[in-house]
Amino acid sequence: MENNRLLSAENIIMSFGGLKALNDVSISLKDNEILGLIGPNGSGKTTFFNVVTGIYAPTEGNIFFLDSDIAGSSPQDVARRGVLRTFQTSRLWLELSILDNLLLGMWMREKPNSLTAILRYRKVKEDFRVKAAEALEYMAVFSEELAGSPYRQVKELALVDRRRVEICRALLARPRLLLLDEPAAGMDPSETRELMRDIRKMQEKAKSLGVIIIEHDMDVISDIAERVVVFNFGRKIAEGTFGEIRKNKEVREAYLGKEYADA
């Protein structure tokens, strides 16, 4: 196996009953790479994320992350190894504040313990102060406004802002691999551009961070992804740079239909 492989999913099959949501899918990712994952709705992209993050155990296949096989591990384990994700319909802790959500993102960097809370309260408080400052600093990269109102409950936020908080939360967990499930859904083009710029900025800052991004907006993909994988009907139908993908007939068909594929 190559040394700079961050993730290598090999021949993944995920079936639900008779339905194969993923059919013999292999994807690999180098460190510091941004990979775009595209395909029509229901083509298995999110299922792939669920398999990698341990929510589903794959029916067949191996997933090597930093050289250890994580296929079938629990979500907690996978997260602790450094694989973090966002969700298609954002899954924040809704009744909690922006800041609480961000702090919880840093849970793994803590060793939370009820006894410390009682015996070393001062230390806990100080720790929270430091962590909160870091969290808000990260948040400010995505949105000054959100960082300026850390005590707003996330359930009051517009969907777009929730996505920002969610990405920020994932980054605060110091991931080695970040899986973004349609981070720009529901954003307008300028917001999307801004978000992609921020993600890139964060990636550079993190030094070693691989990103897989599911996105429908081709602008986003062409802009950010170095390599693109295309899914359709649970299979990988193409792989390459965006330029190559664009010319691929099968891909055009999947998106535009036969009639317009040649237009």
């Binding site: 997260a79 899954r91 809704l94 009744e95 109102s149 850390p150 707003r152 409950q153």
Partner: protein, 388 residues
């Protein structure tokens, strides 16, 4: 904003409610008591409707925690002095304090972590029985029995937590209900627990070998022993709340909240769900054990009546009424649910009916409870404090 004038309204709110509560308990006239209740409810509703005043009071509570806390402590300390002639009322307030400990513990599960536990009454009973058995049968001192009771209840809480790890919501509730019944039936049917007769003659605690819980006369003043037990309990309540408050502002409580809001998300951020759930069960049961032990040494007698399923249900009512995940609210809810029905003893039979109706009304009209949970605040070094 309202920082300048927040203190006074908050202080007035506390003092007025306190005075009304004292009057309520002190007068021996059902009509006046009823009038006070109406006044309290009406006043509360008025404040609730008048947004600016409410905000002002809330801000006062937020910004002047220290001085208001001292006020509250002073008022609680003064409380028995109004009722030296009527030691029954002190008895009621002591009971209320004991239940406060149990419901603050239950709040960790029901309020913070959304684990609907109906068996807090059983843990209360386990604590009480442990303490009673150790002092009556083994002749040990309260100071050994109390910590043992706390720990035994905690261990049982932990054990009950184990089968709930794979379950949620109604399955979890079923586990707690089953546990409550099993504990009740076993204790009722075992010989060494006294069976249906219970255990009587549980001694009062002694301090350095001195029995301080005695009625004393100071000149013409007769101070009933309950007064001292009230203070004794108040001390434990103080410690319990202090710990609960520290926990509430720590990482672990954040973890409880996280599993309340979204378990899948929590898993994907590396939160150890088992550990977090078990800690909530363990710590909550410690509180129940402490309350049970204090109860049995106060009343001197324990039977399975005190740990029936309805006791656990009552404790859930206290948490809901006061406000889930808000310690202050839970204290308020508990005191109200213990104290108010006492005044209407003529309607003793309606007591459970009253609890049921209160619970339903709260769920429909104010599910967040009298005092809703607050967003956690941290001391921020940067100027990020302009949040609402």
């Amino acid at each position: 904003m309202n920082k300048k004038n927040g203190f006074l309204p908050a202080l007035i709110t506390i003092v007025v409610s306190y005075v009304l509560l004292m009057l309520f308990m002190g007068v021996d006239n059902l009509i006046i008591s009823g009038a006070i209740i109406v006044f309290l409810v009406g006043g509360g509703f008025f404040i609730y409707r008048k947004k600016s005043l409410l905000d002002c009071i809330v801000a006062g509570f937020r910004d002047y925690k220290g001085s208001l806390l001292i006020t509250a402590v002073v008022l609680s300390v003064l409380l028995p002095l109004f009722f030296l002639k009527n030691h029954y009322i002190i008895h009621i307030f002591t009971l209320a304090l004991i239940y406060v400990i149990a419901s603050v513990g239950l709040n960790i599960q029901v309020g913070s972590a959304n684990m609907t536990n109906f068996s807090q009454g059983a843990f209360f009973g386990i604590g009480a029985y442990t303490s009673a058995l150790m002092t009556v049968k083994l002749g040990l001192s309260f100071w050994i029995a109390f910590p043992s009771a706390v720990l035994v209840a905690g261990i049982f809480g932990f054990l009950m937590g184990l089968p709930t790890l794979k379950t949620r919501e109604f399955h979890l509730s079923l586990v707690t209900i089953a546990f409550a019944y099993v504990a009740y039936l076993l204790i009722l049917n075992m010989r060494w627990t006294g069976g249906a007769d219970g255990i009587a003659g549980v001694p009062k605690p002694t301090i350095f070998g001195l029995s301080i819980f005695k009625t004393v006369r100071l000149g013409g003043l007769r101070i009933p022993w309950t007064t001292f037990y009230y203070y004794f309990t108040l001390l434990f309540v103080g410690i319990g709340i202090y710990f609960a408050w520290k926990l509430h502002n720590s990482w672990i409580a954040l973890g409880w909240n996280a599993i309340r809001e979204d378990e899948i998300s929590s898993k994907c951020y590396g939160l150890d769900l088992n550990k977090i759930k078990l800690s909530a069960f363990f710590i909550g049961s410690l509180y129940a054990g402490a309350a049970g032990s204090l109860y049995v040494h106060f009343v001197g007698f324990i039977s399975t009546e005190s740990m029936a399923f309805s006791v656990g249900l009552l404790m859930v009512c206290m948490v809901i009424l006061g406000g889930m995940d808000n310690i202050l609210g839970v204290i308020l809810g508990t005191v109200l649910l213990i104290v108010i029905p006492e005044k209407f003893r003529a309607f003793q039979d309606f007591r459970l009916l009253f609890y049921g109706i209160i619970l339903i009304l709260m769920l429909i009209f104010r599910p967040q409870g009298l005092i809703p949970k607050k967003v956690r605040r941290y001391s921020l070094s940067t100027g990020g404090d302009h949040g609402k």
